[in-house]
């Protein structure tokens, strides 16, 4: 018998996106790249960059964080700068995501100026690239992102996010003006993802500065929708559709919101293992659908996803 590995030819490629600026160019140091694949599978060609995990941190103690997560960060939750340092020093974080949740008008309504101040402190404190997130308030987010983008000028952060519910042009403008990338976030619909990317690009944003977030439904809460969407987008990109050939991001932390993860229930066994495993299963599934950057919370889950990701580049 004969057989040879079924390697495909792909017309397209996945764009490469860079976070951070090297010291040689006046940056703070660490540079991370994602994307750049020319194939779907490792046996066809080893992918150039491993997937990256970015640690979620919050600008105020996040209400309702379950104990198995809190126990790692209890001592730093009041101080986001210490929180970021801990992620980098203790858990080797490659990137950090700061969620400026206190800017929510329903929470503390922190003004953008203050968020920018915190952003400056964070940039001083650690040398890894940042994802900058708002609170989810569509009116406030563009203002917060703009203010933070300005103080982080040149650092090639990821602004999270541009979506169809808010003034995405403002977010794109901030990225263009201050040299950042944009997270283009849509809800589980490949056409919607394409539409938003088209709008961002026609507004003037370079396609190589876009990362797509097609939404991660957690394990048990519609992960099959995400599987379909991610795979379709990745395949379309590899087939040559330049409007969806961006690297993809997953808000894997969603998994911790699933009751099977956080709920205390003796019938379901020890939550200390159950919770991270729920996040791992969600993340790993997304990884195998092509996701390049993961926003995650539990240090154990992050370690497992990173360890797995390294296999993709070896």
């Amino acid at each position: 018998v004969d057989w040879s590995p079924p390697v495909e030819k792909y017309k397209g490629y996945i764009r490469e996106v860079q976070f951070g600026r090297p010291k040689s160019e006046g940056g703070r140091g660490k540079v991370i790249k994602i994307g750049g694949q020319r194939t779907l599978y490792r046996f066809e060609e080893v992918q150039p960059n491993p997937p990256v995990v970015t640690f979620d941190i919050f600008d105020m103690p996040m209400p309702g964080l379950p104990k198995p997560v809190r126990e790692y960060f209890q001592d730093v939750m009041e101080d986001p700068v210490e929180w970021a340092k801990k992620c980098v020093k203790e858990f080797n974080a490659d990137m950090v995501t700061i969620h400026h949740i206190s800017t929510d008008p329903k929470l503390k309504n922190t003004p953008p100026k203050e968020s920018a101040k915190l952003m400056e402190d964070l940039l001083q404190a650690v040398d890894v690239p940042f994802v900058i997130g708002g609170s989810g308030d569509p009116k406030k987010d563009p203002l917060v992102l703009e203010a933070c983008a300005q103080v982080a000028e040149g650092e090639k952060c990821l602004l999270a996010s541009a979506n169809l519910d808010l003034d995405y042009k403002k977010v794109a403008d901030a990225a263009m003006k201050y040299d950042h990338n944009v997270l283009s976030w849509t809800i589980m619909d490949p056409n919607m993802a394409k539409d938003l990317n088209r709008r961002l690009i026609s507004h003037g944003l370079d396609g190589n500065r876009i990362v797509m977030d097609p939404t991660t439904c957690s394990l048990g809460y519609g992960i099959e929708f995400s599987i379909n969407t991610m795979i379709r987008l990745r395949l379309a990109g590899l087939k040559g559709d330049e409007l969806v050939n961006m690297p993809m991001s997953s808000g894997t932390t969603n998994a911790i919101g699933a009751r099977e993860a956080w709920m205390v229930n003796p019938e379901w066994g020890d939550r200390r293992y159950r919770l991270p495993l729920w996040e791992i299963t969600t993340g790993l599934t997304m990884l195998l659908c092509g996701v390049d950057i993961f926003m995650m919370l539990h240090p154990l889950s992050i370690a497992v996803i990173k360890e797995f990701g390294r296999l993709l580049v070896s």
């Binding site: 018998v1 293992y273 791992i280 240090p299």
Partner: protein
């Protein structure tokens, strides 16, 4: 090159084309479409059974056989079915036979332990969204390498359970002895490059004695594996399963092989690789247990770390075409994500995930019981009713037709709204069941409360965000809400 996809037209050409409707479809063409979608089988057309159509029937069978052969083992009334897949990605059609999960039992364990573990496997259930998620088979491992012990353990399992078994031994004598007493059609694991000719020789003689089995072929080299398939087929051994080795040192290598095998079968039409794939997360378990613990910074206990890493291997394999897996760990927290992921991957994307809209009495509600309104998305419905059952909530549950959308999705999409609420109230005649006009809404439906009150005239109370908190909420507030409402009516 893609393997050619068959069309409904290709199928139609081979049907009797007389539109007699005996199959229950309106025409032969309609039947052809259903056949193509694998929603019916050719047996349902009685005309095809006549001698005149024998040739066509054969051709159809050939045409319709999936690129990955369907293999079964176990008991007639309790089968484990592997393979039968047609597509690389679930969105293209659907995946058919959920990955079978086998639990390892070593024949070196004391008799009582074997019995206990076997019972555990048989009885284990994790209920999710109205489905009972279960384990599928017992993988009896000849850890002792002693044929007598192996046989004895098999007897214990057969006497105490009705579970399908995989006989796992590379020792040909052990397999031979076990085959003599096995009551079901077992999976045999397996034939390797080393024991191949000896194993096949023994199996041929068993086949002559009318023994049935499915055989796993094991080699880390896909080409070798393919050669082994060919040789097995030549000896009339046709129920095959492929094991391209699970290597815990680099699990990506294993996953790559799974993909190569499946792609060869489905996209390249390679018949010799068109068999189910077996993955062995158990190898990861023992690899970690021996001290290779990549997460020791967080989990020092080796058995816990092993279970976590085993689950991660299992989950990766579920995402990469494993048709069967064998695992060792049995902690509930390890099994839950594996079973849930399997359920997700194998839901049929062609079917909406819905339940019948309408009125569902929960517990024994009376005219003073609360009325609660949720959606007909099955995940939402089963989560809500599961919670209510657990907490002893008694109520009238109104299930709105939101086209199978979750609460927040339906609120955002406009299906959870006043008009639909009004329709639901009218159709269910809920006002004849209760002597109040109050509806409790999910916390996430707060934005549409005004709309619903306006269209229905009922008073709406926004409840908790999560249905698990509803029992508590009602115990605290329902009497007060009801009294306040009554007091208002008297004014």
């Amino acid at each position: 090159m893609m393997a050619k996809k068959i069309s409904a037209m290709d199928i139609y050409k081979l049907l009797p084309k007389i539109n007699c409707k005996k199959c229950g479809e309106s025409s032969c063409m309609a039947f052809a479409t259903k056949l193509q979608e694998r929603k019916v089988t050719i047996d349902e057309c009685p005309i095809l059974k006549s001698p005149k159509f024998e040739k066509n029937r054969k051709k159809l069978e050939e045409l319709l056989s999936p690129p990955v052969k369907e293999i079964w083992f176990g008991y007639e009334d309790k089968k484990v079915i592997l393979g039968g897949e047609e597509v690389m990605y679930r969105y293209e059609l659907t995946f058919f036979n959920p990955t079978a999960i086998g639990i390892d039992i070593s024949d070196s364990l004391p008799e009582e332990e074997i019995k206990k573990r076997a019972k555990f496997v048989e009885d284990f259930v994790f209920e999710r969204t109205g489905e009972k998620l279960k384990l599928d088979f017992i993988a009896l491992r000849n850890a002792s390498d002693d044929p007598e012990r192996f046989v004895k353990a098999l007897k214990i399992i057969q006497e105490n359970t009705n579970m399908p078994v995989a006989l796992c031994s590379l020792n040909v004598e052990s397999i031979e002895k076990a085959l003599d007493i096995v009551r079901s059609k077992p999976m045999i694991y397996g034939a390797t490059e080393k024991n191949f000719s000896e194993m096949i020789k023994m199996l041929i003689s068993k086949k002559r004695d009318k023994k049935e089995f499915a055989l796993t072929l094991s080699s880390s080299n896909i080409k070798t594996l393919k050669g082994m398939v060919k040789a097995s087929l030549e000896h009339g051994i046709e129920d095959l399963i492929l094991d391209p080795h699970t290597t815990p040192e680099n699990i990506m290598e294993t996953l790559d092989k799974f993909v190569m095998i499946r792609r060869s079968a489905i996209e390249r039409g390679d018949k010799l690789l068109g068999y189910p794939i077996l993955g062995l997360p158990i190898n990861t378990y023992f690899y970690v247990l021996k001290g290779n613990n990549p997460i020791k910074q967080f989990v020092e206990k080796l058995d816990k770390a092993a279970a976590i890493m085993e689950a991660r291997t299992a989950c990766a394999m579920l995402n990469r075409y494993a048709d069967g897996i064998i695992i060792h760990g049995t902690e509930v927290w390890e099994l839950m994500p594996i079973l849930t992921l399997r359920q997700a991957i194998y839901t049929d994307p062609r079917k909406p995930q819905t339940v019948e809209p309408g009125l569902y009495p929960i517990g024994n509600p009376d005219e003073n019981s609360p009325v609660i309104m949720t959606t007909n998305f099955s995940l939402t419905f089963y989560t809500v009713t599961g919670d209510f059952e657990k907490d002893g909530v008694v109520c009238w549950l109104l299930v709105m037709d939101t086209e199978g959308k979750a609460v927040d999705v339906a609120v955002a999409g406009g299906q959870y709204c006043g008009d639909n609420a009004k329709k639901l109230i009218e159709e269910t005649k809920i006002e004849e069941k209760v002597n109040h006009r109050i509806i409790i809404l999910p916390g996430l439906a707060a934005p549409v409360r005004g709309d619903i009150e306006e269209k229905t005239g009922w008073t709406c109370v926004v409840g908790t965000r999560d249905s698990s908190q509803v029992g508590e909420f009602l115990r605290k507030n329902w009497n007060k809400i009801l009294e306040e409402w009554k007091a208002k009516q008297e004014l």
